[in-house]
Symmetry: C2
Subunit: 357 residues, 2 copies
């Protein structure tokens, strides 16, 4: 267990902690006193049917979704009870750096998307008594969790909107994520996960950030010199002044825990490897929302899956920022699309719950 000021209420709050007790994992092992960090917006109504669940993306926290939420927006806290839940291993929820032995640092067990969604299910049912979810929406790894929610709890999830992510991770994406992992673990300072401070892994985290610079945006972003979307004035400043220090503040083992999980996102595990069967179980109305310039969750990958989902539509988001369009730097031109689609989705009447088989 080590200190890292990046993961704090000051930087990423306000958030609360929900304790799962000893939480058993799909890959085996237990996280003792496992905690989920979560943030809420709005109020749960009496019928408890105004819940929106928002799971976090790789390296992100509940803070990152604040630009998606607001009065008059699709995610309107005046209307909905929005629960943004930090994935296990993200640095706020139970993670390698904030856990005690025997699950501290390199000993933190492997966590899967399915573990996260089971943990989140316990949070919303046990803590809030919720049995119906109006919408699950999330970007990137948040989309992986969104799919997992819709397949694992089909009678509970009324609507789902996976943004810039897939239900079953592709080989290409696996290989990409592996380069992120290798950039960190090749740093001698990583020391098999037993560094004393993330600063000792600064070189590896820098290389990890530099690969993100290539894959996180897209060629057109650079050609049109869209640095301004991220508040900087040059490509150099974007990489050296923003991306590198951004990732260097984070915990290497947290990034590695999430990357391992991301590589293996796959709802077909719930149906003996049959993706069509797994996606066919979804009862929610689904808007599949890839970003058109995304280099590792491209629209073709998302459309292939969308076609296996019974009650679904493909809604391609236009962005010049590639996958990092998710950060919302384009402002209304991005969020306007997201809000338009999510409002339309939320306006779709839900059928009566079908009793779980």
């Amino acid at each position: 267990m080590i200190e890292n000021a990046f993961y704090s209420q000051e930087k990423h709050g306000p958030y609360k902690l929900f304790s799962l007790g000893n939480f058993e994992l799909e890959e085996g092992g237990i996280i003792p006193d496992c905690k989920l960090a979560y943030a809420t917006h709005g109020k749960l109504n009496e019928k408890k049917d105004n819940v929106i669940i928002v799971p976090t993306w790789f390296s992100g926290t509940s803070k990152d979704y604040e630009s998606y939420i607001g009065k008059g927006r699709a995610l309107d806290p005046d209307e909905y009870f929005i629960i943004v839940i930090n994935q296990i291993g993200n640095g706020l929820s139970s993670s390698p750096h904030n856990s005690l032995p025997p699950v501290s640092m390199q000993s933190f067990p492997k966590v899967r998307i399915g573990d996260d969604v089971r943990a989140q299910h316990r949070l919303v049912t046990e803590l809030f008594g919720v049995q119906e979810v109006a919408l699950v929406v999330g970007g990137s790894m948040g989309a992986q969790q969104t799919y997992e929610w819709a397949v694992r709890y089909p009678e509970m999830v009324k609507r789902a909107a996976p943004i810039a992510g897939t239900a079953k991770n592709t080989i290409h994406d696996f290989l990409f994520t592996q380069t992120l992992i290798d950039a960190i673990t090749s740093d001698p300072g990583w020391n098999l996960g037993e560094y004393r401070s993330n600063a000792e892994v600064a070189d590896g985290l820098k290389r990890h950030a530099d690969i993100w610079a290539v894959m996180g945006f897209c060629p057109e972003f650079f050609n049109q010199e869209k640095w301004g979307l991220f508040g900087v004035e040059s490509a150099e400043e974007l990489v050296e002044g923003f991306l590198e220090p951004f990732f260097q503040m984070m915990d290497p083992n947290a990034l590695l825990a999430m990357a391992w999980k991301w590589q293996r996102g796959d709802v077909s595990r719930l149906a003996d490897g049959n993706l069509a069967e797994a996606l066919g179980r979804i009862q929610a109305k689904v808007f599949v929302m890839p970003i058109d310039t995304d280099m590792f969750f491209p629209p073709t990958d998302c459309e292939r899956e969308q076609q296996m989902i019974p009650n679904s539509e493909l809604k391609v988001i236009h962005s010049l920022a590639g996958h990092f369009g998710l950060f919302g730097g384009e402002g209304p031109s991005y969020h306007g699309q997201i809000d338009e689609h999510l409002k339309a989705l939320l306006a779709v009447p839900v059928s009566e719950s079908i009793v779980e088989q």
Copy 2:
């Protein structure tokens, strides 16, 4: 100077060597007794107007173009005198590992695309007395050299076909190439370029290969499981059985010399940074031939440049192998397109040479 059996007549021949003597470089410094390795196909005709020049791509050699050349093909040795010239630093031509002090290993000076093309110009004029080139064609870094030929020697180059490459490298591509460089130089075995054998840099070369696995192909290649194009039966075999050992055979300093050069390919250097002016000087008929699934020389980047070239057309090549479509693994479905376009280009009548200003 170290031995590396990969760069040999057995593996990459037959090739010959042309000596440039002491060759001065744009960045300063000299390569003493600088040599270009080259291979020829066909015979120079009496008018010396049947010459096709083919410069090599990153990590490639003259051997790699053999699948582009043959009887009845566009590059037909019965009709043309085809000179395939290895770029400086590629391991066959003068390179860090095969040079003697004071330019051996880490002391090898920085080489630019312009140096290569000046050296190649000396080869074809001094060795063969050629003053007119029917076609310059090359892929990737070969395209960079093709553009440099057409801008630097506009009266001499009658036709040009840059495949999957740009005239001015983009920032996105620069950042991608930097990750390739960092993968190698972050290996302690690289030892600032003074390793005793490329085997000492095996880890860095592996990471370098793994980044290529992400950027060299494209998502659709993996989704359609097109491993067979490269003679293997799985993605794992593609990466671990083909790409990793492929790059691990190579010399790290050679890859770094080429990568540095690639990052800085830019014909606008010939016109005080004005790309439109530089490309406007081209007198050749030009077919700009990007590959539609290329992740770092995408068609949009190539089309932007094509529109600045007076007598040019955009011919997009369809491939499921991304940039690595260049390897020709798709066989006739790839080479058929290349041949069709190059035959059409070679059939375009050339105007009389305009005397150089």
